[in-house]
């Protein structure tokens, strides 16, 4: 009887380990979400402190690197493990629409108020970070 139990336990352990190995390799939406959230929170405020042209090039360079990273991340992971995307296209559209809206608001209010980009960076980036955190906890 003990032998049956030990064999069953060994099989369950093995199945668990294999499942973990697959999960580790699967593409995870929270990784790019963290990146883009941090990008917005950390880089957008720079427009309040540096020249728009100079800082704009920095932001464009980081955004280009981020886009390359995101594309490579999904392409390399999906070559071996394919999973249902947990962040659907409508969520991405909603997030991007929100960023555009906040960006336009920062631009418009920047004429009359100070630190609108700092506020805009926080308002646009935090939803990305919150969603990333929620997804990370579900893994």
């Amino acid at each position: 009887m003990q032998a049956n139990e030990n064999a069953a336990k060994a099989m369950l352990d093995d199945a668990y380990q294999v499942g973990r190995a697959v999960s580790r390799r699967a593409p995870k939406d929270f990784v790019p979400l963290y990146f883009w959230g941090a990008f917005l929170v950390l880089l957008v405020p720079g427009f309040d402190y540096f020249s728009t042209t100079e800082w704009g090039w920095t932001v464009i360079a980081v955004a280009a690197a981020g886009t390359t990273f995101t594309a490579y991340y999904y392409a390399s992971r999906s070559r071996q493990v394919r999973t249902v995307e947990r962040v659907g296209p409508w969520t991405w559209i909603a997030l991007n629409a929100w960023v555009s809206l906040v960006g336009l608001g920062s631009l418009a209010l920047g004429v009359r108020f100070q630190f609108t980009y700092t506020l805009g960076g926080l308002l646009s980036g935090v939803p990305y970070l919150l969603l990333a955190e929620r997804l990370r906890n579900q893994v």
């Binding site: 049956n4 294999v18 190995a21 697959v22």
Partner: protein, 96 residues
């Protein structure tokens, strides 16, 4: 009352097949070479086990290309998913 081991699925009970289904249960589909390396088995062993599971209707095999390279993708069918869950449940009953 019968011992839970009598409820074990004979097709899944093979350790490689159980690991294979455990891996497929965690994704929509997995690439053959990734599965081979993860399970640490040879191509021929994996192919044999896949054939048995495919015959039982537990896995689906899809062949395609990534660029010019041929790729084989495997996924769990609905009966396969159900059978795997039930098998794991029985193993847990045995462990207690």
């Amino acid at each position: 009352m019968s011992h839970p081991r009598t409820k074990l699925d004979g097709i899944i009970h093979n350790p490689t097949r159980l690991s294979l289904l455990a891996a497929l249960a965690k994704a929509d589909s997995l690439e053959f070479k990734f599965l081979r390396d993860t399970l640490d088995v040879s191509d021929s062993v994996l192919s044999r086990q896949i054939a048995s599971l495919e015959e039982a209707g537990y896995v689906k095999v899809k062949k395609g290309y990534a660029g010019k390279r041929p790729r084989t993708w495997l996924s769990l069918t609905q009966p396969g998913s159900k059978a795997f869950e039930e098998h794991v449940q029985v193993l847990m009953e045995i462990v207690g």
